[in-house]
Amino acid sequence: MDFVFKNKRISGILTVLPKKAVKFEDEMANYSFSPAKCMKLKLAMGYNEHRIAEPGQCSSDFCKFGLRYLFDKHLLNKDDIDALLFVSQSGDYYMPPTSNLIQGHFGLKHDCLCMDINQGCAGFEVGLIQAFMLLEQPVIKRVVLMNADVLSPKVSAQDRNSKPLIGDAASITIVEKCEEETTIYANIKMDGTGAFALNIPAGGFRMPSTPETAVMVQDAAGNFRSKDNLVMQGDDVFNFVQREVPPMIEHLYEQSGVDRNEVDWYMFHQPNKFMLHKLADKLGIPHEKMPANIVENFGNASGVTVPTCISYNLGDQLVNGKMRLCMAGFGVGLTWSSIMVEMGNLSFNKIIEF
């Protein structure tokens, strides 16, 4: 499904990371690999350290900290927020929506559309597409997109498929109308038949958490996890990404009329270094144009990885200049989406710690 959006821009990105950094070496004794094999795993996947929220810290706390920072620094005016989107898989409650809680916390105006969206790895792209669509309405001039996930408590410490890469984080992206002639191209596809490639079996209404769902069970690969834990079918996810993402990006070139060499940066979701390098090779993109350094430095925080990648790798370059970015997210759902955008002259593009 293709989209075209005109006269809209991203005007600021703020990434909020937990202060707590955990080293791969400090956790590898939990895994069923020898130390030597663990070190190979580290090298191949690009694991080093990841940022983990403190017990009790929720996704919304990171969003609130980021918003408070923007208000205090006069980078965002409360009264200018016409819509507040919260894209996450770790909301505070089943009800009410976390976006409403955040709206209430700051006493934002009542003429503000609050919306929670349950999305994971493609959450930044899904959130942006939703924001751009809302901006088609005359009454909505500015959307605040919050991507946030604190999923580390849901990952088993003895799961070497997921534990070394998981990260917690939030990002706040300001999306607004502009008078400047801009065209943003986006596409998205979904395949719910693969929905269980990434899932948390228990804890929802279908399978409430009970003492039975908390029992740890060993899988064929030697990982221990319970039904309350996140489970990733790594092979299925890898194959899905390698099969679907390259044609999606090829399609985006055609859709946008942009040649691959005219793209300054490829800001992709960050599952691991190996997967990203394979995608870059398949697409004929130099590795240095597709940063793969977020998992090794901060971990994979689902829909927050793309904004983190932009803040970390480009920082003030996007405040002082303009670049063409190709962004892509892929994973939970299954969902895969990409966006071609010229981004620049941002009011802010940085990382802060909470």
């Binding site: 390698q242 190996f274 995608l279 090779d281």
Partner: protein, 77 residues
């Protein structure tokens, strides 16, 4: 090429004999999915290629002959 493949496999999992004929490395548990990742990295650098991500499937790593075929398909000489 065959000797190089066996050498890489043996370095990866020295506890197994990869010279045996008629053994399926995947079914026998001699290679798991993480071994395949390491193997691909080693094969890529040894043969100066990049094995296509869509080809990283267990059936392409079941025997030395399968790996050889995979390498040829991805441009190894």
């Amino acid at each position: 090429m065959k000797e190089q493949i066996i050498k890489i496999l043996t370095e990866l999992r020295p506890e197994f004999d990869f010279t045996q004929e008629g053994v399926n490395f995947i079914e026998e548990g001699m290679l798991d999915s993480f071994d395949m990742v390491n193997l691909v990295s080693e094969l890529d650098s040894t043969f100066g290629i990049s094995i296509d991500g869509v080809d990283i499937l267990p059936e392409n790593f079941a025997t030395v002959a399968d790996i050889e075929k995979l390498l040829m398909k991805n441009g190894a000489k």
